[in-house]
Every structure is written in C-alpha cells, then in structure tokens.
C-alpha cells in the first residue's frame, strides 16, 4: 500500500505539465470572448422565449373563442338546432341563426307536427286552430310540386286531378283547413282511400268538401 501511495504522490507531481505560455496568451482572450457571446446568447434566448410562449398561448385561446360562434353558425346553416342559450346569445347581438325553430312553436307542441308527419286530421285541426301558421306554406309548395308530378304521371288518366290544391294560396293562409301532411299524394284517388288507416280517412269524405285532406277523392273532374 505504501508503494501505491508513493506512486500516487509521484503521479501528482509528474503528470501536470505547464502548457506553452504562448498558448495561454492566445487562448485566454478567445475564451473570454466566447464566454461573453455565450452568456449574451443565453440571456437573449431566455428573454425571447418567455413572451413568445405567452403570446402563443393567448393567440390560441383567442382563436378557440372566436371559433365557437363560427362553429355554432355553421351547425345552424347545416340544419342543426343549436341550444337555446346559444340562440339567445346570437339574438342579443342581432344575428338570427337560420334553420332554427321559432320561439313560439316551442310553446305549442302541436304546432311542431306540421313538418310533414302523417298524423292525420288532428294535425290539420291543430294547424287550422293556430291560424295557419307554421310550415304550411312550404308544405303547400311541396304539395303543389307533388301534384305537378302526379299530373305528369297521370297523362291519359281520367282520374287523379282532383287534388284540391289548384289554388296558389296556401290553405292555412286562406282561412281554410291547411293541407295535411299527406296532401301531396296526388294522382290515383283509389289508392289513397285504401292506404290511409287513420280514423278520419277510413270514412270517405264527400266530394268537393274541400277540407284540406286533398287525398284525391274530392273534385274528380272525370274528364
């Protein structure tokens, strides 16, 4: 062990060697300059990083917040019913979202049945009680289109033109019973009387009563 200690002591003395003095003269200014540049760069980097990250965070949050009304408006354009708080928020700033149910229709659930559901005369009654409001005009338009189609198909037939929707005024607005949801079934009157199973339709309606069922068994012109 003493030999090892002796060797270590000799090693400590023998190994260190003085470098060339000119090396130190040349190297020390370079070391100082390199350290100065590195410190300045590190400080600049640290100062620059912090605001950039904070600014980016604020920008991300702002973009996310700005996207919310755009997304809601996009959904409304696509036909999705957006929640009423969102709708009211748009209303407050004077923007009315399209394809949204009217505020009054929520109060009368019967009025919601005017969207073409086949609920027979009850819906018709409810609509007529509601003064022909709601979707009667689009339904009427749709019925007219269907009638035109049916007339095109029924070329040469003697029946099927008496759909009762020849007038251009929607029945709901004309103080008449509005067209029921099945009023678009123009054409062959015989098939309609057999296919509908609601109690109102099982009893044949008198010709030309014009009650808005318009199932084709009314004013048959017969020519």
């Amino acid at each position: 062990m003493n030999e090892v200690a002796l060797f270590q002591s000799a090693l400590r003395t023998a190994v260190p060697s003085q470098p060339d003095p000119s090396l130190g003269t040349r190297l020390v200014p370079r070391l100082a300059e390199a350290a100065r540049l590195a410190t300045v760069e590190a400080e600049t980097h640290a100062v620059r990083r912090r605001p950039r990250s904070r600014r980016a965070l604020v920008a991300r949050v702002g973009i996310a917040i700005a996207l919310i009304p755009l997304v809601l408006a996009g959904l409304a354009f696509a036909g999705v019913t957006v929640p009423s708080p969102a709708r009211s928020a748009f209303d407050k700033v004077g923007i009315s979202l399209p394809n949204q149910p009217a505020a009054t229709s929520q109060a009368t659930p019967a009025g919601q049945g005017s969207s073409g559901k086949n609920d027979g005369g009850q819906t018709t009654t409810a609509k007529s009680e509601a003064g022909g409001k709601g979707n009667s005009a689009p339904a009427h338009q749709h019925a007219l289109e269907q009638q035109a189609k049916a007339q095109g198909k029924a070329v040469g037939h003697t029946q099927g033109k008496g759909i009762g929707l020849h007038g251009s005024t929607p029945p709901g607005q004309a103080k008449e019973p509005g067209p029921p949801s099945q009023s678009n079934a123009g054409g062959n009157s015989a098939t309609h009387t057999t296919t509908h199973t609601t109690p109102e339709h099982t009893t044949p309606t008198t010709p030309g009563n014009g009650n808005g069922n318009a199932n084709g068994n009314g004013k048959g012109k017969g020519s």
Binding site: A14, V15, Q18, G24, V28, E33
Partner: protein, 183 residues
C-alpha cells in the same frame, strides 16, 4: 479558494473577464494538459484548447461549486480526448516523449516520491495500464475527482469505476514490486 471567491470568479468569467479566465486557465490548464498527455492525446495542447473553448461556450449553463467546476472541466476534456482519438489515425498509446516539467507547487513528499520512482518510471507504469484504468487513475489522482465524478466523466457506473481503480492500483503495485521500488 473560498466559495464566495469562486462564485465571483465564475460570474466574472461568464461576463467575459480576461483576468478571470486567466486565473481559471492557470489553475486548471496544467493538470488538464497532464491528463491529456498522460492519456496519449494525439495533440495534447490542441485538445486542451478545444476543451477550454468548450468550457467557455457552455459556462453560462454551468451551475455548481469549485469542485463541480473542476469535475465538469475534466469531463469535457475527457470527451474531447475521445473525439481527438477518433479523429486521429488508430495508433498505440504513446505517452509524452518530452518529460513534463514538475510544477513548482509540489511539496517535499511528492518530490521525494518522484525522486524515488522517477518520471520515466511513472510513464512506463501508466503505459502498462489499460485505457480505462489509466483514465480512472489519472482522474482520481491528478484530477482529484470523486468516484461519482469520475463515473460521470467516463460514462460508467461508480461500481465499475471502483473496480477499474482497484485493478489499476494492483497493476501499479505489481509493477513497482518488480522494479524493486520500496519505501
């Protein structure tokens, strides 16, 4: 050097003070150069310059005391030594042909030990050791690093460093016994 003195010296070096770098260089360059030379660096002074430039470039990131700084400098020097070896052609380790000048600060016991063993004998014994054993012994004895610091510098576990040191010292003891060096 007191911790406060070292802290102010380090701060001055970070700010680019020539005097601070001169002091750090004078303190560490001889031992680092000796370490590089004893480990067979292809161009020890060039590797020393590269090591100190790396220290200067990274000193803004350094945190620690004087001992940590010393360990950090030796770690960088060891890595630059490995790079220099890779860049140079593969050749057997040749220790410094010119005998290093003994520094003036050696005490009497060290001088006496060196007189008994001799510089050439020290170099010959170092050349007998494996590369890892020599690096560990030099970092422990010349660099005055702890086992953990040596492990960090050479990229090994402390247990492996202890084993390398033990085997290296055993080889030194055998070599000295063969040469008849006794107290």
């Amino acid at each position: 050097m007191s911790p406060e003195r070292f802290t102010s010296l380090l701060e001055a070096a970070r700010e680019g003070s020539d005097a601070a770098w001169q002091e750090l260089y004078n303190d560490l360059a001889p031992v680092v150069l000796g370490y590089l030379r004893a480990n067979g660096a292809p161009d020890p002074e060039d590797t020393l310059s590269e090591s100190f430039l790396q220290v200067a470039r990274d000193i803004a990131k350094f945190e620690g005391d004087e001992r940590g700084f010393r360990s950090w400098v030796f770690t960088i020097a060891h890595h630059r030594l490995i790079d220099a070896r890779r860049h140079s052609a593969r050749r057997p380790v040749e220790l410094a042909a010119e005998p290093p000048e003994p520094p003036g600060r050696a005490d009497d016991a060290a001088d006496e030990a060196l007189a008994r063993i001799g510089v050439e004998q020290v170099q010959r014994i170092l050349a007998m050791l494996s590369e890892d054993q020599r690096a560990v012994l030099l970092l422990r004895v010349v660099g005055d690093l702890s086992i953990e610091d040596v492990a960090k510098a050479v990229g090994k576990r402390p247990g492996a460093v202890k084993a390398l040191q033990r085997r290296g010292l055993a080889a030194v003891r055998r070599a000295l016994a063969q040469k008849g060096v006794t107290l």
